[in-house]
Subunit: 147 residues, 4 copies
């Protein structure tokens, strides 16, 4: 359960709308599985279209899911009328992204007026077993006055 | 001009083959524009399919291009019979990825028997002007004996 | 409680010895407060000798504590006869490092034969209140055959 | 030669003053060797007080030098009356920090009103040979209205 108090009572609608305007998420088949203030889980099915040379999901695609999870998590805590952009992230790849489905779970560690710091994990679901395949730490920035 | 001496005389064919076996690269429309020992440039056209909420290319897609550029650059210096995986990378997003075409340029900074360190930049080409939109530093690992 | 099984039954003595051979740790006044397989807490008192322009502890010193916490945590899970080196780390600075004492807590997320991935947090203790001031994610490498 | 135009004509005095108010720099024996708009080189002599278990300079100390080089480089381009803080950095360790002297060279890649992105390298000087031992990419933040 999240311990953050959203500044925007419409955080759910606004964060969902921001997510749905990202064509990349539709193309990659990524959807919102769970959304709380400062926390989000995204879901993606395996597709051979996004694989690297060994048939696993490409690290860049895993990163796209992680980055978006961080962005949506951060966005739920921003005031109304903001836009958001990613400043930086680091991804550590821990295991091959081999699975039927993938979950990208992010949470806000430190919200801020300008910068928000998030952590996220990418999990592969394979034969009922969940494996942490990658982690991200990232900094997101609120752009104010974009009503 | 590259100053590295490849260990594998077939580096060009082997690196190109590894790249072409990545379905994600075809799906994203990324191709090799230039390939030297320890250096590579990849090219991508803009596609609305891979955009974020403001119509710019998604940071995860830019990262996929950067990561692959690092991987191919590192792979050109690895001995025959290796496979390669990404250990980690950090991406800093410096400007909106707005352009008609994109170039991902990577070079090896420090090759090693096990680990290779690379730097890369993503450039947007817009109305004839080139802008640095993101940078990556990354660590790649050689997996030996995968003949 | 740690869930890792150390490969080296002498992990405690070996990790403590490695820590104590680091002159930098003595100079910075950093000591081991807690040590379990794959987990460590280091402690440091505030000293004006290691401050930045506003009298807070310098980010590089905080990083030295975090890096060492990751190194010791990783080292507890390595086999006998290894040496260890840091491959890379990222530090995110979340709040001014203002406090009387500091704790650096690290744990192994993914141990590996060659590479081990760790996460760590730096906490400032100020008037009885603990604040997360920085986080680290880092990759450590085992160098084998250094008996 | 630097291509940046400083906003503060007193950039040299202000950046030098900020550096000199950092007690950590004196304790570590780090000084400014060269300072241009958006570029800086710091110098440090080897001291056994700041070594790790093999007698090389500790990665955290190398990071302190790199971080400060980035901070000073970024600060030269900020307007008068700012303070500066580090948001994040990643350090990649490429070779043992073994040398008689060390140089930390940073330059601004992308200055910004709020955030500035820098790259830096740490070089060991050993028997007249210079070796790149670590790199940093980092994000610095201007805090305005701190006259």
């Amino acid at each position: 359960m999240s311990s953050f108090q959203p500044k925007n009572p419409d955080y759910r609608a606004v964060a969902t709308d921001m997510f749905e305007r990202q064509r990349a998420m539709q193309t990659l088949g990524i959807s919102i599985a769970r959304l709380e203030p400062g926390e989000v889980e995204l879901a993606m099915s395996y597709s051979p279209d996004f694989t690297q040379q060994n048939g696993f999901v490409h690290a860049g695609i895993i990163t796209a899911g992680l980055d978006n999870a961080c962005g949506v998590a951060a966005f739920t805590l921003m005031p109304a009328g903001c836009d958001i952009l990613t400043v930086e992230f680091k991804t550590n790849l821990l295991a091959p992204a081999k699975g039927e489905r993938f979950a990208f779970r992010a949470h806000v560690v430190k919200p801020g007026r300008t910068l928000t710091f998030c952590e996220a994990g990418a999990y592969a679901l394979n034969d009922g077993v969940e494996t942490l395949v990658a982690t991200m730490t990232g900094t997101l920035m609120a752009l104010q006055g974009r009503e």
